[in-house]
């Protein structure tokens, strides 16, 4: 039974992964990514990692891919990309050769150890112990041995939120943060420079980068 589940889920994963790489439309790539993430979640269930399977579906397929689709729709970059032309001659061949090498390296390493994993154990607990479900084992590990790492990841998430807000802010120039000015693109600003007299001297100095540079130098 596990063999059947594995074969079906592996086929979904591989088809989805190829879809991500080969789709010309970014929306199709994102939907193929959902297929791959879902297949990986099924493989997690097949390996008794039920909590991680649920988290995989909720966080990855639910949140991250929706974020991708949201950005695609927000920016309107959902038009097809021409994959026929190779911008750098010979780069694709080199990439495929490198990909085959990346695939072969772990497989050969695995074959050299007779398809068995070896290594030091963490002594955090066994996953085969039916009395301790996997979610309890993960929770115990996170809040005992890895508790400092867990706290640091919370700091990481807070920094990521602040960074994302700063990066996605529409007006990075400090003058625009103080005064509630309409948002302008660079071409608008350039045309405004020409018509600075009509705009008024205050607005021009606050708005054009060239004027700011001239003032500081």
């Amino acid at each position: 039974m596990e063999t059947f589940v594995f074969l079906v889920a592996a086929a979904i994963c591989l088809i989805g992964a190829l879809g991500v790489v080969l789709s010309t439309n970014p929306v199709h790539s994102a939907l193929s990514l959902v297929a791959t993430l879902f297949g990986v979640a099924v493989l997690f269930v097949a390996q008794e990692a039920h909590f991680l399977a649920a988290v995989q579906v909720i966080v990855y397929a639910g949140a991250i891919v929706v974020l991708f689709l949201f950005v695609i729709m927000l920016l309107g970059v959902d038009r097809a990309e021409n994959l026929k032309v190779d911008p750098l001659v010979g780069q694709r061949v080199a990439a495929v050769v490198l990909g085959l090498a990346v695939f072969a390296l772990p497989v050969v390493a695995l074959a050299s150890t007779d398809w068995e994993a070896t290594g030091a154990l963490s002594n955090l607990g066994s996953i085969a112990d039916a009395a301790v479900p996997d979610i309890e084992g993960i929770g115990t590990a996170l809040f005992t041995r890895y508790v400092f790492a867990l706290e640091i990841t919370s700091i990481l998430l807070a920094i990521a939120v602040v960074g994302a807000v700063l990066l996605a802010k529409r007006s990075p120039r400090p003058a625009d943060m103080l005064v509630d000015l309409p948002v302008r693109t660079d071409t608008d600003a350039a045309s405004l420079d020409d018509a600075a007299g009509a705009e008024g001297p205050e607005d021009a100095t606050a708005d054009s980068p060239a004027a700011e540079e001239g003032a500081t130098s």
């Binding site: 966080v59 772990p106 996953i127 990841t153």
Partner: protein
Amino acid sequence: MLNVLAAGVEPSWYLVLSSALFAIGAVGLLIRRNPLVMFMCVELMLNAVTLSFVTFSRMLDDIGGQAVVVFVLVVAAAEVVVGLGIIVAILRRRPDATADDLALLKG
């Protein structure tokens, strides 16, 4: 094929699948020019790694591998948020920008 089905699934199959997914993601990262699709390929590679973590956790009968996957998830989420913020900031100014054009930080 029937022999394979009768023999049952070996944990190492998962590792082979994981390296295949990682390789596809790496090739995609190298050959695609759209920054969003390149980001999706990075997610693909991260997922391949989490799959191999879970498989090692099962092979060694140790919950530590599954605990690490939680951290990988958190770091992936943070990376996606910051990366998409950068992509939004760039593509808003230049909607046609591909990875080849993004040499703005070059000194």
